[in-house]
Each structure stands twice: as structure tokens, then as C-alpha cells.
């Protein structure tokens, strides 16, 4: 703006110049202008053009070049980014323009006044440097943990019961990744119902953790109640392995489909003998039924209790001592709970889930002197094949449990049971081999060479494999065991359809 006014002044001056010269000019036409005015006009035009192109105060540059002696810090940064959109961005201007005070002695490098804003040509992060920065951060955090974290962290022994079925890969990968992120040593004991299988073994070997893969010689039952019982037995079986191998550390019951936060693993380092954490229960809503369920229960319950997440865990009084337990109130859900695995209904937990208990592995050792008196021996419990509902059965004195996570107020663990539908189909090892061709075109395809409407009989036949193909195609390469026969079915149908095509054409 200032420049414009300056130019206007110049223009006015040249006008007055002309005005002054006109009466002097003897020639009446005035067409012949004096060379001075032409020169000024030309200079004016040139200056306008240059400042238009460069976009900054051209006058200052002129002053600087002609009048100022070079100051010691005269680094003329001509990063002429020709982006004239915003005045606040990128343009640079030469340093220490006219008239500003220069710092006293010539010795000083620092000059008062307007400086250029230095911008490098590519002001974006360099991926190699970002990587280095992350390594620095990681090293700093490790150092912090060493200094301010636990002095001698104990090994985390995670016990996970599993068995082969549709969602095994999904759940096991989740637990695996949680355990891989734990900053302490981890021993992962995977107990598999129905004996050890290669698929499970291959999956858990990808973790890079120290794993113990043991088989449990019984197949997982279909009914949820029985499944809960069998899982308890599998966990006790794993504890026996801990005893035999004399594994030292903290035992965590990391069920497959549960969600663990990293703070949980930090908190459990505080456990002395047996601790309890709060477990948030996420009842699985298998579709519209679940939504109905919550809507109904909200009507029923004025106090709005069911809109909060139910929590199982220790209850404390104001002096942070264990006085009782929060358990899950199953009554509202009883009619609609899932009965068998794959049922489309809420899967309910038991009163106190194993996942909420943390044990010191020495509790299950044989012949250890400093074991507290209130713990029963592992062999004694469960000898008769009775159902061990929770680790509380190991204790003679239930008040010996230590509440963790600021006395159960902090929830670091969520319980959930999700299984695929009983009739779910999927290819063996989650690999479609050979890859599918699109041999069954959709009815509304935009492709021009789509065959005409297929006769209805054929449509019916191919509708079923279409569904399975679609579902199969969605699940990208995951490994799966058995049920390999399914693979052949769509292929057979494909062949049939393609023959029909050839017949039609």
C-alpha cells in the first residue's frame, strides 16, 4: 500500500512536472514531451513491473544496494519463493534495511532490524530423521523406565486357553500383540483344547516371545457353561506346568478375546502374592437383539445403571482396604444369554472372571518355604474334578487378596467373548488357492459384455456359492485349519456355471 502511495506521489510529481512545463512549452500541441518526463515515466513503469513480479518492497532493495555500506551480517537470502499469495508467508526481504540502528561495535554479529525469514526449499520432514527421532525417544523412555520405573521387574507369565475355530486367529493375534508390547520379559503359556495343532503353533511362533504350547486332551464343548468350566481346567493345567518348570514371575490370565491395556502390565508388578484388578465387562451385542436388549433395560432401570459398563473387581472402603467384591449382575440378561458358542446373543461372564486375578507364580510352587499359609496346594484343589470358578478357590483366607489399580478404581482390562456364527464358512487356512476368477457376474454389472439375464434356475443354484465367495473374499489371507472341504464347493459350482456359459454362447 505504501508503495502505491509512493508511486502515486511520483505520478503526481511527474504530473506537476508536466503541468509546469506545459506553459513553458511553446509548441501548442504538447505532443513533444521533454525527455526527462519520458525518462521518469519509463522508470516508473519499470519499477511497477519489477515490484509486481517480485512482490516485495522494491524501493528498499534499491536503497540497500545503492546507499547502505555492507554491514557485517549482510547475508542476502534470496530464497525468492515466488508465492505472492499471502504477505505473511514466504517472501523474504534483505536484512538491515535503511536507517535502522546497527549494534554498536563492528565486532557483534547480531544486527538489530528487519531480518529475513529463512525457509529451506523443502520444509517437510525427512523420513530418515523422523526414524532417528523415534529411536531417540524410545531410548529416552527406556532410560526413564530404568530410573523411575520398577527396579527389578518380574517376568510376566501369561496363560491363554485357546482352541481352533473361526475367530482363533483374530483373538490370538490381539493378545499376541499386547504381549509383544509389554516392556518386561514375557513367558506365554498357550493351552490348546483338543491337543496342539500346527496352525496354532505357527501363529504363536510369530510373536517372538518365549512360548510354551501345551495341549489339553479334550475338545472344547459347544455350550458356554461347559466352555467356561473347561477353560478353568485348562488354566489349572497351565499352572501345573508353571509348577513343574518352576517359572518365576507374575501370572496373568490373558484370555484370548480380552483387551489388555499396557498400564495393566505396569500395575501388576506391584503384586505381592495375589492381586485383583477391575475388569470391565463388554457384553457382546450380536446384532439387533443386543440393541433391543439395551433399550429395554434402559426403560426398566431408572437409575441408569445398565448404560454404564458393568465392572467386576475388588471393592474397597475409604481406607483402601478390601471389603468386598463387585460382581456382574446377570439377572437382566438371563433370558437372552447365549447358550452355545456361536449363538447370536450376549455371552455372560461368570461371577468373578479368572482374568481379574493376578498371582505370584511362587504360590503354585511345591516346597517353597515362604509361601503364605492361606494358600492351598495346587494338587489339592481340583483333584475331584470339581469346577474351579476362580482363583479364590486357592485361598483359605479370601481377605488376603491385594486390590490393584488404585483399589479397583482403574479399569485396565476388558472382558469380552465373541465367536463366529455356528454356521460360518471360511476357506482352509484363510487362503483362497487358486485365486478366484469373477466367473459369476453380478446382475447389475456395468460391463458391456455381461451375459444376458440368466434363467432363474441357474440364479438359485449360484446364489449360495456367491455368498460364500463374497464372505471368503473379504477375509484376506489368514491361516485356518481343517474344514478344507468347503474350498472345493465353490470351485465345483464355478465349473458348472462356466460350462453353462459356454453352452449359452
Amino acid at each position: 500500500m505504501k508503495q502505491l502511495t509512493a508511486l502515486q506521489h511520483q505520478a503526481r510529481r511527474s504530473n506537476s512536472f508536466r503541468g509546469a512545463s506545459l506553459p513553458l512549452d511553446t509548441s501548442a500541441d504538447g505532443a513533444i514531451k521533454s525527455p526527462a518526463t519520458i525518462f521518469w515515466l519509463a522508470l516508473h513503469g519499470l519499477c511497477c513491473l519489477i515490484s509486481l513480479v517480485l512482490g516485495f518492497r522494491f524501493s528498499r532493495l534499491v536503497f540497500f544496494l545503492f546507499f547502505c555500506t555492507s554491514s557485517p551480517s549482510a547475508t542476502i537470502n534470496l530464497y525468492t519463493a515466488l508465492q505472492t499469495r499471502l504477505p505473511s508467508s514466504i517472501t523474504t526481504s534483505p536484512p538491515a534495511a535503511n536507517g535502522t540502528a546497527v549494534a554498536v561495535d563492528g565486532r557483534s554479529r547480531v544486527v538489530v532490524g528487519r531480518h529475513g525469514i529463512l525457509i529451506r526449499p523443502w520444509p517437510h520432514p525427512d523420513p530418515a530423521e523422523v526414524m532417528k527421532a523415534h529411536q531417540i525417544i524410545e531410548r529416552v523412555q527406556r532410560e526413564q523406565r530404568v530410573q523411575y520405573g520398577f527396579k527389578s521387574p518380574r517376568t510376566v507369565i501369561a496363560i491363554t486357553p485357546t482352541y481352533v475355530r473361526t475367530f482363533q486367529t483374530l483373538h490370538l493375534t490381539g493378545v499376541m500383540h499386547s504381549l509383544m508390547n509389554v516392556p518386561y520379559n514375557v513367558v506365554w503359556i498357550v493351552v490348546e483344547a483338543g491337543g496342539t495343532t500346527n496352525e496354532t503353533a505357527a501363529l504363536i511362533s510369530k510373536s517372538g516371545l518365549k512360548t510354551v504350547h501345551i495341549g489339553f486332551n479334550a475338545r472344547m464343548p459347544i455350550l458356554w457353561e461347559d466352555r467356561h468350566k473347561m477353560e478353568s481346567q485348562m488354566r489349572v493345567h497351565a499352572l501345573r506346568v508353571v509348577r513343574e518348570k518352576k517359572l518365576d514371575g507374575i501370572v496373568v490370565f490373558a484370555d484370548e478375546s480380552n483387551m489388555h491395556s499396557m498400564e495393566l502390565f505396569d500395575e501388576i508388578q506391584n503384586v505381592e502374592w495375589i492381586g485383583a484388578v477391575s475388569v470391565g465387562i463388554l457384553p457382546h451385542s450380536g446384532g439387533s437383539e443386543g440393541v433391543e436388549l439395551s433399550a429395554v433395560s434402559r426403560e426398566d432401570n431408572d437409575k441408569n445403571q445398565n448404560s454404564e459398563m458393568p465392572v467386576q473387581g475388588p471393592a474397597c472402603n475409604s481406607s483402601n482396604q478390601l471389603v468386598g467384591w463387585h460382581t456382574f449382575n446377570m439377572l437382566p440378561f438371563m433370558e437372552r444369554s447365549a447358550r452355545y458358542v456361536g449363538d447370536r446373543a450376549v455371552v455372560l461372564p461368570r461371577k468373578l472372571e479368572w482374568a481379574g486375578f493376578i498371582l505370584n507364580s511362587r504360590l503354585v510352587w511345591k516346597d517353597v518355604e515362604d509361601k503364605p499359609a492361606w494358600v492351598k496346594d495346587l494338587d489339592v484343589v481340583g483333584r475331584e474334578g470339581e469346577d474351579i470358578e476362580s482363583p479364590m478357590s486357592f485361598l483359605e483366607d479370601p481377605s488376603a487378596v491385594e486390590p490393584l489399580g488404585s483399589c479397583g478404581r482403574k479399569i485396565m482390562l476388558w472382558w469380552l467373548r465373541v465367536e463366529a456364527r455356528a454356521d460360518s464358512k471360511f476357506p482352509a487356512r484363510w487362503i483362497i488357492d487358486p485365486p478366484l476368477d469373477v466367473t459369476v457376474p453380478a446382475k447389475h454389472t456395468p460391463w458391456p459384455d455381461a451375459p444376458p439375464e440368466l434363467p432363474t434356475s441357474v440364479v438359485k443354484v449360484i446364489s449360495i456359492p456367491e455368498n460364500t465367495e463374497k464372505r471368503v473374499a473379504k477375509r484376506s489371507t489368514r491361516k485356518r485349519s481343517s474344514r478344507s472341504k468347503r474350498k472345493h464347493v465353490p470351485k465345483a459350482l464355478d465349473e458348472r456355471v462356466s460350462t453353462r456359459h459356454s453352452e449359452d454362447n
Binding site: T75, D105, V110, R114, L118, P125, A133, V140
Partner: protein, 414 residues
């Protein structure tokens, strides 16, 4: 005899341990062996004596009464130093035996409604105070102020202006040219930094920072952190003037960089965020110093100082090169390269030095004063300048100072 010696040693070790526990329980910290030895741990008591002039309350108490905001802004060091000296063991009531003379005049307490100090009356106030002490006591005229010290915590110290050009034009108040100045401003080869001045940190409220401490085990996940202005749109809309263009350069180069958590917001979690960062930027603003340095040191965040030729607080006692990272203003576009190429051992070492509680203590002005805090470091600095050279004592009748020098406006009485 030996038992007593051992007992004494244990007692002192115990005391030292308690001091260390005051801020953080850290095990692995490094001792600051500064350029001048372990000067941070010196005790000034017994090494010097300070006489505090009794000025009429219009120079100090009345001003403070008019505006109590002076107690919390970053220039509050002058007030707290006065209070500290009044009750300190180094104070002496006998001026004949004093090594240093202190004049309690609060020149930085004339605040605008926004809280910024106006320096326009400060030269007159200072001049009036000096006239008073030179006429009522003989000690000023004895040395023309060479054994007097003044605390001038304003932007450019005793130049008494917030704009650098005007401050340079004015220069240091002529009457103070023989006195020792204790100021926050420090820049090499600058008109407003006298030789022999003591640079101090700006005031940062210790209680407020204490209440915002988070557990030291919280992992540091931010790489570089900064909150503040990049462009001062009110005073310098084009940019390039404010901070000599360095802050604008930081913004333009790194606003897209995920490693740099920089913005102009005022979050309520500012202190907590600093404790979660590895590096904290401390670029210059209108003046090269800022309370960010103090905050970075307290919160264990490595300060990245972007201010050419800056003189940092207690530079003769604290090895700032070992603790912080210095980046030249022209190297700002390469800041990410510079920071990521620092070897990790150095970064860890800097963090250990920062974790040292004596480092944090030296930057603070706690009430009541604790040992080895900033008050004591100032006294240490003054003690290091003793004994006064014989030449500072003027012969009777000798005059060096020109009482009428300086801008005409300064000569008006206050």
C-alpha cells in the same frame, strides 16, 4: 575425636540428601562441575556483607501497594531480592563493614492494564534514588557507586526501554556506569550489557510449577515442544523484526513436521506437556531471554536456545553448553537435522544434568529462600567479585560521573 568427625560428616551428608529429595527422588544424576568448579554449591554466608539502604517507601512499598501484580510477573526478582536481603544473614546494619550496598528501588513495577511494565519513568526513578543515597550517605560518593549493586530485571536491563533500538540509543543509565548490575538481559557485545554484570534467570513462580509436577516415570513422548507467538501481529505484522525472524522461521519450516509440537495456543497443561517433551525450544522474542529457559530446566526438558550471542544466567557457574543445545539463528531451517543428529549418550547426559536438583534450585526464587537457590547464586556472584580493587575508591574531590548526561527527559525529578 574421630567419632565427632564422622558424625559431622554423616550429618552433612544427611542434610545434602534431604536437599536432593526436595524436588525429585532421582538416583542417577550428574553433579554439575561447572566451568568455575562446583560453584553452585558455594555458601555465600560469611563471604560478603551487604548493607541495605533505607529508602522512603515511595520507592518500593508504595509502588507495590499500587499494583500487587508485580509480585507474580517475570520481573518480580527485584522485589523478592529485597525481601530476601532484609532477613538474610549476609545483611549488615553497619555500613562501614559492608562490602556491597543495595538500593531497593522497584523500577519495573509501573504496569499497563495488560500487565506489561512501562519503563518511561524508570530512569527518573533510579536517578532520584541515587541522588537520595548520595546526599544522605557518604558511601556513594566514596566510590561513585562501584561497590553498589542494582537489580534491573527489565527487558534490556538498565537501558530502560522495551524496544531494542531505542534501548541501544539510550544506553545504560550513565549514573550506573560504575555500579554492578544484576539483570536478566544478557547478550555479548551489546550496549545494554556492562562488563561485570551478573545475569540472573527471570522470575518463575515456584509454587505454581510444583503443583504441576507429574510423576517422572511418565514417558517423554514429544520430541520438540514450544508454545508461544511466532509472529507478533500487533507490533510487527510483516514479520522479520520480531525475534529477528527466527520464530517465524521455526514456524514456516516445521509446522508440518509431526516431531515438532509447536503452536500459539495457551493450553492449561503447558507445564505437564513440557515434562513429556525431550526438547523445549527457547527462541528469542523481543529480548533474547525468556522464562521458558527456567521452565525447561525445572521440568527436565532439554532447552534448545535459539538466540545469537546470548549470555545465560549465572554463566560463570553453570555449564550451559553441556546442558542445553545452542542453535544459531541462521541454522534454524536445519533444526530437525541438528536435533536428530545429537548422539543419544549426549542427550541422556544432558537429561541427567538437568535432573540434578541443585541445577533446578539455582534457577528458582523460592519463598522462603532455600539454600543454593537463585538468591544465593546472586550473592555468590557478588562474592566472587570481591575484594574490590583499591582503585575504585576515589580520592576526595575526584568526580567521574557526569550527573547531567543522558536524555533531557531523564533529568526531570521523580
Amino acid at each position: 575425636m574421630k567419632i565427632w568427625v564422622f558424625a559431622l560428616i554423616f550429618y552433612f551428608a544427611f542434610c545434602a540428601r534431604i536437599e536432593a529429595l526436595k524436588f525429585h527422588k532421582t538416583q542417577q544424576t550428574e553433579r554439575i562441575s561447572g566451568s568455575a568448579g562446583d560453584v553452585l554449591e558455594d555458601d555465600p554466608v560469611g563471604r560478603l556483607k551487604v548493607f541495605v539502604y533505607e529508602l522512603p517507601s515511595k520507592y518500593n512499598k508504595k509502588i507495590l501497594q499500587k499494583d500487587p501484580r508485580c509480585l507474580t510477573h517475570m520481573f518480580a526478582a527485584e522485589i523478592y531480592m529485597h525481601r530476601f536481603l532484609l532477613s538474610s544473614p549476609v545483611r549488615t546494619l553497619n555500613p562501614e563493614e559492608a562490602d556491597w550496598f543495595y538500593t531497593p528501588v522497584y523500577t519495573t513495577c509501573d504496569l499497563t492494564p495488560n500487565g506489561l511494565p512501562l519503563p518511561f519513568k524508570s530512569p527518573r526513578m533510579m536517578r532520584s534514588a541515587i541522588q537520595l543515597i548520595s546526599s544522605n550517605w557518604p558511601y556513594w560518593n566514596r566510590t561513585e557507586g562501584a561497590d553498589h549493586f542494582f537489580i534491573v530485571p527489565h527487558d534490556f536491563g538498565a537501558c530502560f526501554h522495551y524496544q531494542e533500538e531505542k534501548a541501544i540509543e539510550r544506553g545504560i543509565l550513565k549514573l550506573l556506569q560504575r555500579a554492578t548490575l544484576v539483570q536478566t538481559f544478557g547478550q555479548r557485545n551489546h550496549d545494554c550489557l556492562k562488563d561485570g554484570s551478573i545475569t540472573i534467570p527471570p522470575y518463575a513462580p515456584p509454587q505454581k510449577m510444583q503443583t504441576h509436577l507429574i510423576p517422572p516415570s511418565t514417558p517423554r513422548s514429544i520430541f520438540v515442544y514450544f508454545r508461544g507467538l511466532f509472529y507478533d501481529v500487533g507490533n510487527d505484522p510483516e514479520g522479520g523484526y520480531y525475534a529477528r525472524g527466527a520464530r517465524a522461521s521455526v514456524w514456516e519450516n516445521f509446522k508440518n513436521n509431526p516431531l515438532f509440537d509447536i503452536s500459539t495456543e495457551h493450553p492449561t497443561t503447558y507445564y505437564e506437556d513440557m515434562q513429556r517433551a525431550v526438547f523445549c525450544l527457547c527462541p528469542l522474542g523481543w529480548a533474547p531471554w525468556s522464562p521458558r529457559l527456567v521452565e525447561a530446566v525445572i521440568f527436565g526438558c532439554i532447552p534448545v536456545i535459539i538466540a545469537d550471542d546470548i549470555v545465560l544466567p549465572f554463566a560463570d557457574a553453570i555449564p550451559w553448553e553441556d546442558i542445553g543445545v545452542f542453535v544459531a539463528e541462521k541454522d534454524v531451517p536445519k533444526l530437525d537435522t541438528i536435533l536428530t543428529s545429537i548422539p543419544i549418550e549426549e542427550i541422556l547426559r544432558k537429561q541427567r544434568l538437568l535432573a540434578n536438583p541443585s541445577m533446578k534450585q539455582a534457577m528458582l526464587f523460592p519463598q522462603p529462600a532455600q539454600s543454593r537457590d537463585a538468591f544465593h547464586q546472586i550473592l555468590n556472584g557478588l562474592a566472587r567479585k570481591l575484594p574490590h580493587d583499591k582503585s575504585v575508591y576515589l580520592k576526595p574531590g575526584e568526580k567521574i560521573l557526569n550527573w547531567t548526561a543522558g536524555p533531557v527527559g531523564d533529568l526531570k525529578p521523580w
